[in-house]
Assembly symmetry: C2
Homo-oligomer: 278 residues x 2
């Protein structure tokens, strides 16, 4: 399966511009033979909203024609089995806003995931999702979804692996933070560890540009199931060919197994609402 993460710069509060740009990026990826196209978080809206009203002005419901446009582009993917996973600003039926990711096949919208771990000021604009992320069964393998800050909760990536995800697609907007010069961005280190401890692939699609003074890490990375970065954004896209079935093998040696060696009876603290240190 060829994966393309299309790192680009959505424009704040400019839905029509982003609508055209996102479809164009899917087309370009398909033109390079991609079957799985990952777009950044909040692709259709930009990120640094000045108010909830501004976010609402570019929010779209799940029956918006944008997804049919994405479907028409990805329908051209090799073998007719392409998938797009991209972030958008969702308008819920009740008027609530969500930081969501759409999963779109050549047939149309397959699933929507509403980010469950909201970062910082997102809490002022969005409601957190109440459902765990989907794991989509495809011909090429099982694909899970997470959005940006979700990745910093190892419980979430682990639970995706336990539910059979062989690859996790991660639309993201990573604000640039300090790091030692010889190191990966910290979010990439976290993704590498999640990939290795769970023996699954992770494809993170970051955004680029500077928005209202906010610089972005531009850290797009495709990580293999051994935990190593196999593609970074180069001229905007990170592209890699992967064999998802490798992620079905959780054995590390004849006597060790990354998931089978878990001790769930010792992990009860993780699902209780306890204050840390309590």
């Amino acid at each position: 399966m060829r994966i393309a993460c299309q790192q680009f710069a959505p424009e704040i509060a400019a839905f029509d511009v982003n609508r055209a740009a996102s479809s164009q990026r899917i087309r370009a990826a398909v033109g390079q033979g991609a079957e799985l196209v990952v777009l950044p978080e909040l692709t259709t809206s930009g990120y640094v909203f000045s108010s909830r009203e501004e976010a609402a002005s570019v929010a779209i419901p799940v029956d918006h024609p944008l997804f049919a446009e994405w479907a028409a582009e990805i329908a051209e993917a090799p073998g007719g089995r392409g998938l797009v996973i991209g972030g958008f600003c969702e308008l819920g039926a009740s008027g609530a806003l969500y930081n969501s990711a759409a999963v779109v096949s050549g047939e149309g919208l397959v699933a929507v995931y509403r980010k469950t771990h909201l970062w910082d000021r997102e809490k002022l604009f969005f409601e957190p999702g109440s459902d765990p992320p989907p794991v989509i069964e495809t011909v090429a393998g099982r694909i899970g979804v997470a959005i940006c800050y979700d990745l910093e909760f190892p419980e979430l990536t682990r639970s995706l692996a336990l539910r059979g995800a062989e690859l996790v697609a991660v639309p993201t907007n990573w604000p640039l933070v300090p790091r030692p010069g010889n190191e990966h961005p910290p979010e990439v280190v976290i993704a590498m560890a999640a990939a290795r401890t769970n023996r699954m692939f992770i494809a993170c699609c970051d955004r680029s540009g500077t928005e209202r003074g906010q610089r972005w890490t531009q850290g797009t990375a495709i990580i293999d199931c051994d935990g190593w970065v196999i593609a970074r954004a180069d001229a905007g896209a990170a592209v890699a060919d992967v064999e998802l079935s490798r992620a079905r093998e959780k054995r590390l040696t004849a006597l060790a197994d990354a998931l089978g060696d878990r001790r769930p009876e010792l992990y009860g603290d993780l699902v209780r609402e306890i204050p840390w240190g309590g």
Copy 2:
């Protein structure tokens, strides 16, 4: 608090040699002002046993005088508040063997942790521990323990953080595995991610040498609560001065909190005995 991880090469099945070497390493670390001294996994026995009988021949009970010797050495630490955390091959009351870590203060043995995630052939020699690792309250801060492969279970490091650990000491024996030339050892990447996602320090003490053909990574690393490596083994020891209280701050921004933003109601899968993909 000054931490010293004393990376050295225990000798297989040579208890007396290792007993002397371990005490000497504690003395050397204390001579450099260390208050927390971390020793490798199975410091007293070596690792590559040819049989369970060989492991049993160097196993010791928790009332063995070795721990009084370690206590006498660490009692000389600055302020009289030193702590040693080191691996040993434990002989249980019933004759069972455990891959254990001892926590020893100037007063004597404070706690024993029996490794709960046994790696590969360890399963042929050892029983897995049935209790979660301890978190020790000290004047300098709260210190948790894990052993080697335990670290590859993010549930374990997370649960230590939730129980208030500000630093996790990790006696380890990391077999050398392939990695890209510009990368940290994979176990260090995993420790970096655990340190950053939990906002806690992690001090891993690996071993050195080659034992019965097995090469070791020699990847000893002290990692700060931002997830960056601040000391590696240099002439056998990694030494760093850390302020453990930094790990009490879990806020990432005014509106984001590394532990407070968890969604425990979504993590139920982690504590159920389900086959992966099931």
